[in-house]
């Protein structure tokens, strides 16, 4: 037995993660010890300041690292490089706007979460908790822990770290999914479905890890990459292992055929959680996929590429077709996110030189539109006979004529939808453009052709929602008056989040050069 060599831990490189984990722990302590009256406001401040501070830490690491300071540490298990830092920056921006939506309340003072997660839906206990004005403030530390897992996901250079980070990001999301204030049974069912399928996919992931370990006798990407080029035999086992690991990651981004959970979970989860989860999980998982493919798997590119082609094409087609036939706005957006997983995958399938930065730009553009669109969904509400605001009006027919009653909100929604559709002058257009150019450079012409056709078809249902909002007279729909959507006035935090998302979508669409330059100089992997 050799003597133990303690690994070198570069604490400075871990600052962003440590800030978020520390804030999460602080949040747990606040939930336990702070007086109930002030608990929520403390939690919100912590949850909003932590990503800001971490953003500062990432900027500091960026100035230290990009352009020569890249390194791996903890015995090669974690990597600090431009790609990881850029992905972390995107994640923290998503977290800032996402948490702002998460923390905001309706004018009546109710937030998006059940007053007491442990109470059975419809029970006297739940009613008592609601009357007493309890609030489930644990959602903020849960969201922070999930964010910490995502940040590690982008740096993971080792399958063990990747597995632990995968679980750290997933487990809090399962709980958050179950905590909706309204339609609680739906929300709990969504959580169960998410949990069972998520655990199933992590088990598949883990078996892939075992096979890759058997192949290369190591868990770090660099060693697996070396073993692949050294041709030690057992290539079949390595390819199967790699495909199983990719299955676990593709499940997280919701690509076909691993998308079964996406519509149900997006619909059942509290809408602010859906927005955060849709944007951030996808960004983190794509960052992990890119690092795995570019660092560990180039030796297997020939074997893995066909499978990724199939996944990308199936995601674009299935997502687009099923989005067209949905009648629920949250399910429509869910299927559209499946299609977007396919579009993002196009950028990196053939491992082109410019793939990573195109992927990151695409994810940034998609994230702004996603968080913004789901924030709008939280504001469009039904009213009961007494005129009280009740649950979200998610049926598409209820959105008819929204543009006449709340033009600003409907215009914001239209902007996000146009960005999803990839109309010029929005971020989505340049995201798609850079992704497709990168793929074409890598020689994946047929894939780009399918992607362009799919985005044309996809534009149909985004435009349909816009037409519904602006050009359909509400009188034409048969819904009784009270069921039609009424937009409520957004709280200050949601207002800020919406403005940031809309501004981000526009600025990236009109003047993307600084961001593209930044990504182009940074998005390289350290091996």
């Amino acid at each position: 037995m050799t003597t133990f060599q303690p690994p070198v831990i570069d604490w400075a490189a871990l600052t962003p993660v440590l800030v978020i984990v520390g804030a999460g722990v602080l949040g747990v302590l606040v939930a336990a010890f702070a007086p109930a009256a002030r608990r929520r406001s403390i939690q919100v401040v912590v949850a909003l300041l932590a990503p800001l501070a971490a953003l500062g830490a990432v900027a500091w690491r960026w100035s230290e690292v990009v352009g020569g300071g890249e390194s791996t540490f903890v015995a090669g298990q974690l990597a600090e490089d431009g790609f990881g830092l850029a992905a972390q920056m995107i994640l923290l921006v998503i977290a800032l706007v996402g948490f702002a939506v998460l923390a905001s309340r309706l004018p009546g003072g109710e937030d998006a979460f059940t007053p007491q997660g442990a109470s059975a839906p419809g029970s006297a206990y739940e009613e008592a908790a609601r009357k007493a004005g309890l609030e489930q403030t644990e959602v903020y530390p849960l969201a922070l822990f999930s964010l910490a897992g995502m940040l590690v996901f982008t740096m993971a250079n080792d399958l063990l770290v990747l597995f632990v980070a995968l679980e750290v990001l997933s487990l809090p999301l399962y709980v958050l999914t179950a905590l909706a204030r309204r339609r609680r049974v739906l929300s709990q069912e969504a959580a169960l479905k998410y949990f069972l399928l998520g655990a199933f996919s992590s088990a598949i992931f883990l078996f892939g890890v075992a096979l890759l370990f058997g192949y290369s006798a190591s868990l770090t990407y660099a060693d697996i990459g070396t073993a692949a080029t050294a041709s030690v035999g057992m290539d079949g086992m390595a390819v199967v292992g790699l495909l199983m690991v990719l299955t676990g990651l593709l499940f997280k981004v919701g690509a076909v055929p691993f998308h079964a959970w996406v519509p149900d979970v997006y619909q059942g989860a509290p809408t602010p959680v859906t927005g955060f989860m849709a944007a951030a999980t996808k960004t983190a998982a794509f960052a992990a996929i890119a690092r795995l493919l570019y660092v560990a798997a180039p030796g297997f590119a020939w074997d893995v590429e066909p499978a990724l082609w199939v996944v990308a094409i199936a995601s674009m087609l299935v997502g687009t077709v099923l989005a067209i036939v949905q009648t629920d706005i949250k399910r429509t957006l869910a299927y559209s996110s499946v299609a977007h997983a396919g579009f993002a995958l196009v950028a990196i399938v053939s491992l082109p030189e410019g793939g990573p930065d195109a992927l990151l730009f695409y994810l940034l553009a998609y994230s702004f539109a996603t968080v913004g669109a789901f924030a709008v969904v939280t504001l469009v509400r039904e009213r009961d006979d007494a005129g009280n605001v009740t649950g979200e009006a998610t049926h598409l027919s209820q959105w008819a004529g929204l543009g006449r009653r709340s033009p600003v909100l409907a215009a914001a929604m239209a902007l996000f939808l146009l960005s999803f559709a990839g109309i010029p002058l929005t971020a989505g257009f340049l995201g798609k453009f850079t992704a497709f150019v990168a793929a074409a450079d890598g020689g994946a012409w047929p894939l780009v052709a399918v992607a362009v056709l799919a985005s044309i078809a996809a534009a149909f249902f985004y435009v349909r929602v816009i037409v519904l909002m602006f050009f359909t007279r509400p009188e034409e729909s048969d819904e009784p008056q009270r069921q039609r959507a009424q937009a409520v006035a957004p709280g200050a935090l949601t207002r800020v989040a919406l403005v940031v998302c809309a501004a981000g979508t526009l600025v990236l669409g009109v003047w993307p050069t600084p961001v593209l330059d930044l990504l182009a100089q940074a998005a390289r992997f350290v091996v």
Partner: protein, 99 residues
């Protein structure tokens, strides 16, 4: 007992677990299937670790156990809360999520 024996056993356990998840309709049983899959991964990791003469795989197995325990906590919490709302944990019950 060669490496192959352990791998075949691990593969069999993994398959039994996967079939359990896909076929059984009781959420608790499906969840037990997942646990079986995780443990078959542990067996494969430890076997490979022994063959390669490194401790990495065994360390990974410990991490898997810890993560599985954390997963049990979250999973059972969700299942119990569903049971209290619906008095059943079947994943086949007429579901609100199927349109």
């Amino acid at each position: 007992m060669s490496l192959m024996h352990y791998l075949v056993l691990s593969g069999i356990l993994f398959t039994i677990g996967a079939v359990t998840v896909l076929v059984r309709r009781n959420a608790i049983l499906a969840f037990m299937g997942v646990e079986l899959m995780l443990n078959s991964c542990n067996l494969a990791l430890v076997a490979f670790s022994r063959v390669h003469g490194t401790l990495t795989g065994q360390v990974m197995a410990f991490y898997v156990m810890v993560v599985a325990a954390a997963e049990v906590v979250v999973g059972l919490a969700i299942i119990v809360s569903i049971y209290r709302a619906r008095r059943t944990v079947s994943v086949d019950e007429p579901s609100l999520l199927r349109n």
